[in-house]
Subunit: 224 residues, 2 copies
């Protein structure tokens, strides 16, 4: 029995996801120095100068406004929980050697809600400052979504990435909305977002298209 | 011995090449009704309303001006010869059954110069109205480029497509400039332009980026 009273079902959404012209959502060789893989940061150049990101990352007022900032801000609107793939949580692979790795984001991550991290290796939840709690989910993407839905209390769930995780949720027909920011850049190699995924067959249609000097924003929405 | 006196070498250029957000430069199942493959025409919606195309296709004045039209017009600037893959010339596969197929473009094709068609099957040249001559090249992409260069007399050579032909020339490091028009559309399946082609390793860098309501135009230029 659901405890949610909203009559509008919570959506699973991907927002502000940067891709290159050659189709990569991350570079190769992710490590501590290259959280997005080599070259991957160029996919996100549109978002760093925005008012939303300047505030979030540095606590500073200022930054750019306009469509880039509008999309950045919408990325946090009405989000009640997040889901992340393990590689987006950190560069550690295999069993957790200890509890020292707590994400890329310092003591106070920008989530401020429950974050469900997909992994094959169990680990106790981590409470961070500012309301973020990392939960480690070992029984698959549908279980993570179910737990995120319970936690989100009728708000939407944002699927943060990375590429492999988004591809899994797309193929399972679980993503309701996908906002891509196409960067005017080539990566050459990396993780392809759409290779062998037929987005038309899966039922996606464009619902928005706004281009700026830094990115082409396109929102795809799945048929009900 | 070259007869060209220009000190600026002619370039091999791809212009106005439409790609979808999911990376396809043409749809599947090309045939008489779908010269660009199923769904492929949506890649070119930005160009049809332009002044340049309205004039070229229908001999009509009018049509839209602005960046879309500027790029459409530049597609014909300073072009002395064209190269086309066979599928771009027509839907016929295998040996030519007869000489009846003369391209998609009617009696007076929009090229008005020599057009070199790559094929495995020899055929006599076809002179069309308005100066277009289709030549059939059976000894490979370098030979076609060499013949096109001789014919172009110092002007540039435009590589019209399709996807497989552009991929061959990219991999051979023969394309000097590539103008893509990214359509805000999904094709779902089709011919991927960049799959397994590392454009960074091949030396391409962005030289222009202009987005309109209908397409995101990006020009990539190869290092000298």
């Amino acid at each position: 029995m659901s405890t949610t009273l909203s009559n509008k079902p919570a959506k699973l959404v991907v927002r502000c996801f940067g891709v290159s012209v050659d189709g990569y959502g991350a570079g190769t060789n992710q490590d501590l120095d290259n959280p997005m893989g080599v070259g991957g940061m160029t996919l996100h150049e549109w978002v760093f100068p925005t008012r939303t990101f300047q505030k979030m990352l540095f606590g500073k007022d200022g930054g750019t406004t306009g469509p880039d900032d509008d999309f950045a801000a919408r990325g946090f609107d009405n989000i009640g929980a997040w889901i992340l793939g393990r590689n987006m949580f950190g560069p550690v692979r295999g069993p957790w050697p200890d509890d020292s790795w707590k994400g890329w984001w310092g003591d106070e991550p920008p989530y401020h809600c429950d974050v469900f991290v997909l992994t094959h290796h169990a680990r106790a939840p981590i409470e961070m400052r500012g309301g973020t709690v990392f939960h480690f989910v070992t029984d698959g993407i549908e279980s993570a979504l179910q737990r995120a839905r319970q936690s989100a209390g009728g708000n939407d769930i944002r699927l943060g990435g990375g590429v492999a995780t988004i591809r899994e949720y797309l193929n399972a027909r679980l993503v309701d909305e996908l906002h891509l920011a196409i960067a005017p850049a080539l990566l050459g190699s990396g993780e392809s977002l759409f290779a062998n995924i037929d987005m038309v067959r899966l039922g996606y249609k464009r619902s928005e298209h706004v281009a700026t000097a830094k990115a082409t924003h396109i929102v795809f929405t799945k048929d009900a």
